[in-house]
């Protein structure tokens, strides 16, 4: 019953990392995050609601982001998420971990 991912072969936990990094640039609502991921990755990373929102809830429960209701640009009510201080720390940690992982994989592939 884990969190399923739409994106191809995403390492587990990477989605969290991506969301945190996205929110580092500023507060965003859920759709905005999904859009940003899709656009920035050239349509490779297409995250659906069934992965995105559970991930957001998880991050909320762990206290790495906070959510606040506000008005979107078309005057609809939407929930905007932003990083907390703990979230920033978490981002750094996850980033480091991810880099290490990628390096290790590369080494194996080129050995």
């Amino acid at each position: 019953m884990g969190v399923t991912n739409d994106a191809p072969e995403l390492l587990p936990g990477t989605l969290d990392l991506l969301i945190l990094r996205t929110l580092q640039r500023g507060a965003m609502h859920g759709y905005g995050i999904a859009q940003h991921l899709r656009v920035t990755s050239d349509d490779v990373l297409q995250v659906g609601e069934s992965s995105l929102y559970p991930a957001l809830q998880r991050l909320l429960v762990n206290g790495w982001i906070t959510g606040e209701w506000g008005l979107s640009d078309n005057n609809r009510r939407a929930r905007y998420y932003s990083l907390t201080a703990a979230g920033r720390k978490r981002l750094a940690v996850e980033r480091k971990g991810f880099d290490q992982m990628v390096l290790a994989i590369q080494r194996v592939l080129e050995a």
Partner: protein, 864 residues
């Protein structure tokens, strides 16, 4: 922190879900908006919308899983579902809850009582280093031996104690109090401190100095010294001597001798221990503290050597009867002398309680199994759509847990209600100590869990086993070996119930007979005065004279025609047994005679017929030739065909006496007793416990006058005056209590058997619905179906009754003594029990039979 947040989300439940819903809606709308902006067609938009919907639902599920641990969710769901389902079968709930409540409540109470008695920890410092010591020649040491043991160095220290009783009071009516006589170092060795004042110091309470100090328990201090802290230094008169109170023990102090503790502690001295200097008289139970590195076995070996050397030094008075020295943990001290009894009682009650619970569990399990069979379609469907066996088992377990918890609540309520149940006084003390309060809950929980598992697991597992889907499709099961086993179980239950019902009926009938029986003496015209003389009052000669004065004075009370003394009240619950052999004849087999001391005119006072010879006179006093009166059974047994008058008789402890009279037999111990041989000695020659009997035409109104007459002679002795009929009522009450208890057990047994039968019949009915449906479709009438089921039930009941009857015939002779005038094979009792059981059995099977017959054949067929 995470958990806190989780908790908050769980509590905000709906709110959070609504929020998420709104968010997802927003997301979907944005997706749609973008699609339209990019010029997507209608079809595309709809397709995307549908895909999004699926994602939406999944999103909500996953989010929920993050908020609330899934198992809590599932659990709560099961609880709601189970509660709804149970609510639809109220009969099942009531019956199961009651029988489970019975089992759980009974076991909780028993467990509480047993742990109160066995968990009793006497107050002391480092209890694991303290042991009880018994010499080989007795349970107790004599005081000089104890002193030698103490100075022998085997133990770090040794203290002795002795239980006793003295009358308390300086003026007015005296009151008996329980006493523990202890050596000076008792409190020091055990590390016990007083809450007010102090305990004894070794110096001031050396036995030679005859110290007049006492330490009292907190309860005594509250009852008798008004709980006044300034009561230290007050003087109390015990056994006629003044003693000063020096200390009060703490409220949580627990005595060495179990939960019935003494009220006063006095130091050992000649005042409190008359055999102080006699080396040959065992008088003190001894506790000792082991040396720092010694073990119990080392100590035991050392004490064995010690006692052996004592025997060598003082050969003429110590006879070790081959028993060895015993050194044991101090906590076991309270059970000494009655170990077998305690263990037997504990084992017996645990087994009984366990059996009752087990029977109740089996019954409920049966009922649940029947229910599972009825719902097998529903279960099969759930399993088929992928609920997974574990999940279905879990939900059925939750349902049975609900039942069991309900039963547990009822059981706890029962256990609490025990406070209001009237009980004989000895048990009452235990009941007060077993304060049913919050502590009950921890006792009850293991029983509840165990019951839930037993009741719920088996039916759940059976109902969901592999292939249940196919099984259902094939139309269910008929009578399987499993059913046979349950039938056998029910037959066993019915047999047990029959035995209990027979026993009850026998006892009840004998109760009725008792009021018509001839006890051999006049119950309705007697007054009895029992005296509580303690060890220091009116000894020997003085007692005989005191008795004489009492008899003289009471005989003068208007309305009293005769008065005499004795050391018993027939049927008053206090008979004694002694060994005996007639002078020169030691080989008589069979019953051993009882011996009693009675005064002049005793038999006339009680209306017992004198067959030959004469009664005791005032001339039969101390110093005159020893005389005795015997009853007719004695004369028949030991001197058959001869004239017993003038013969000499002798018991193990008395000198020879001449027989001067023969009286008719009368009941002494219990009403149902077999005739026994009795020798009566003259009270003046052999004074014992003092009880005064008086004869009056209307005794009820004279109790007060007799009391006043006694007060004229000595107003201080504790005395209890009542009519003879009420003094003998204890025996009656014990009977009544016994009958009620057996009756209660019989009813419980019957109730459980009824449930068992109902369960089996329901199960059989449920598993044969298809068959019944076919038969009804083919034209069998409803009454016919019903009759068949009832007949089937009757077969089971008959087997149970026959088995029970055989068992009863074997067992009822065992309690012949309780059955006065009724044969243990009384046909009325047996017939009555059989009829009752048959009726109960039919009633229990009626509902399933009716249900079977009222099936709609079409629905039953559709289950095929």
């Amino acid at each position: 922190m995470t958990y806190l947040r989780r908790l908050v989300y769980w509590l905000r439940g709906r709110r959070a879900a609504a929020d998420l819903q709104e968010e997802l809606q927003f997301h979907r709308d944005m997706v749609e908006r973008d699609l339209r902006l990019n010029g997507a067609t209608r079809a595309d938009a709809t397709r995307v919308a549908h895909r999004t919907l699926g994602n939406t639902m999944l999103a909500r599920e996953e989010a929920r899983a993050i908020w609330v641990a899934p198992w809590i969710d599932a659990f709560w769901q099961d609880v709601r579902h189970g509660a709804r389902s149970l609510a639809r079968s109220p009969a099942l709930v009531i019956v199961s809850a009651l029988s489970l409540g019975l089992g759980i409540g009974l076991n909780t109470i028993l467990f509480m009582g047993i742990s109160t008695i066995y968990g009793h920890q006497p107050t002391m410092v480092e209890p694991e280093r303290v042991v009880g010591v018994e010499p080989g020649y007795a349970n107790q040491f004599s005081y000089p031996d104890y002193r030698d043991l103490r100075s022998s160095g085997i133990f770090m220290d040794a203290a002795g104690f002795r239980t006793g009783g003295l009358n308390l009071g300086a003026s007015g009516r005296l009151t008996p109090v329980s006493l523990l006589v202890v050596t000076a170092n008792y409190f020091d060795m055990l590390g016990i401190r007083a809450q007010i004042g102090r305990t004894f110091t070794a110096a001031e309470t050396a036995a030679e100095r005859e110290p007049r100090l006492i330490v009292v328990t907190a309860a005594f201090w509250r009852n008798w010294l008004r709980g006044d802290p300034a009561a230290i230094g007050e003087s109390l008169v015990l056994g006629g001597e003044p003693f000063t109170v020096v200390g009060v023990l703490p409220d949580d102090y627990r005595a060495i001798f179990g939960w019935i503790g003494p009220q006063i502690y006095a130091p050992v001295s000649r005042l409190t221990l008359s055999a102080l200097d006699e080396r040959g008289t065992p008088s003190l139970s001894v506790l000792a503290r082991l040396q720092p590195n010694a073990t119990t076995s080392q100590a035991q070996a050392a004490v064995t050597g010690f006692t052996a050397s004592l025997e060598r030094m003082y050969p003429d008075r110590l006879t070790s009867k081959g028993r060895s020295v015993r050194v044991f943990p101090a906590q076991a001290m309270q059970f000494r002398g009655a170990e077998m009894g305690y263990s037997a009682a504990r084992v017996l009650s645990s087994i009984t309680g366990g059996l009752v619970l087990l029977i109740a569990c089996v019954n409920v399990a049966g009922l649940l199994m029947a229910r599972a069979t009825e719902r097998r379609r529903e279960i099969a469907v759930r399993v088929a759509i992928g609920a997974g066996r574990a999940r279905v088992v879990q939900s059925m377990l939750v349902e049975s847990m609900l039942l069991v918890v309900t039963g547990g609540v009822i059981g706890l309520a029962m256990a609490l209600a025990i406070n209001w149940v009237p009980m004989p006084s000895e048990m009452g003390a235990l009941r007060n100590v077993m304060t049913p309060d919050g502590r009950l809950v921890p006792y009850a929980i293991p029983f509840v869990l165990f019951t839930a598992l037993v009741c719920g697991l088996l039916p759940a597992l059976r109902a969901t086993r592999k292939g249940v889907v196919d099984h259902v499709r094939q139309g269910g099961e008929g009578v399987t070996p499993r059913t046979r086993m349950r039938q056998a179980l029910v037959i066993g239950q019915l047999a047990m119930s029959l035995f209990l019902v027979v026993a009850t009926l026998l006892l009840v009938r004998s109760q009725i007979r008792i009021s018509q029986i001839d006890v051999g003496f006049d119950l309705d015209h007697g007054i009895v005065a029992r005296f509580g003389l303690d060890q220091r009052q009116y000894l020997n000669d003085a007692r005989a004279q005191f008795a004489e004065r009492l008899v003289e004075r009471i005989a003068q009370v208007p309305g009293v025609s005769l008065a005499s003394v004795a050391n018993i009240v027939p049927l008053g619950g206090d008979s004694l047994l002694r060994s005996f052999h007639p002078a020169g004849r030691t080989d008589i087999p069979g019953t051993r005679p009882s011996t009693y001391s009675v005064g002049s005119d005793y038999f006339r006072t009680l209306g017992i017929r004198l067959l030959k010879g004469r009664e005791f006179h005032s001339t039969d006093r101390m110093g005159a030739p020893a005389v005795a009166i015997v009853n007719e059974t004695f004369a028949r047994t030991y001197f058959p065909g001869q004239d017993v008058i003038g013969q000499r008789v002798q018991t193990a402890d008395e000198p020879e006496a001449d027989v001067i009279g023969v009286v008719r037999d009368h009941r002494i111990g219990t009403i149902g007793e077999a005739p026994q041989s009795v020798i009566y000695y003259a009270f003046a020659q052999r004074p014992r416990t003092l009880i005064v009997h008086a004869r009056a035409a209307s005794p009820d109104g004279l109790v007060a006058s007799v009391q006043r007459a006694i007060d004229e002679i000595d107003a201080t002795v504790p005395v209890n005056v009542q009519t003879l009929r009420s003094a003998t009522s204890l025996e009656m009450n014990m009977r009544r209590l016994g009958t009620m208890l057996i009756g209660a057990m019989g009813s419980v047994g019957l109730f459980l058997a009824m449930i068992g039968l109902y369960g089996v019949m329901s199960y059989v009915a449920a598993s044969r619905t298809a068959e019944v449906g076919i038969r009804m479709a083919l034209g069998a009438s409803r009454p016919r179906i019903r009759r068949e089921m009832l007949l089937r039930a009757l077969k089971v009941v008959t087997r149970g009754v026959v088995l029970g009857a055989l068992a009863s015939l074997a067992m009822t002779p065992l309690f012949r003594t309780f059955l006065a005038g009724i044969s243990p094979f009384d046909p009325v009792a047996f017939a009555g029990a059989a009829i009752l059981l048959a009726l109960v059995g039919l009633a229990a099977s009626y509902v399933p039979a009716r249900r079977s017959s009222r099936l709609d054949p079409m629905r039953a067929l559709r289950q095929l």
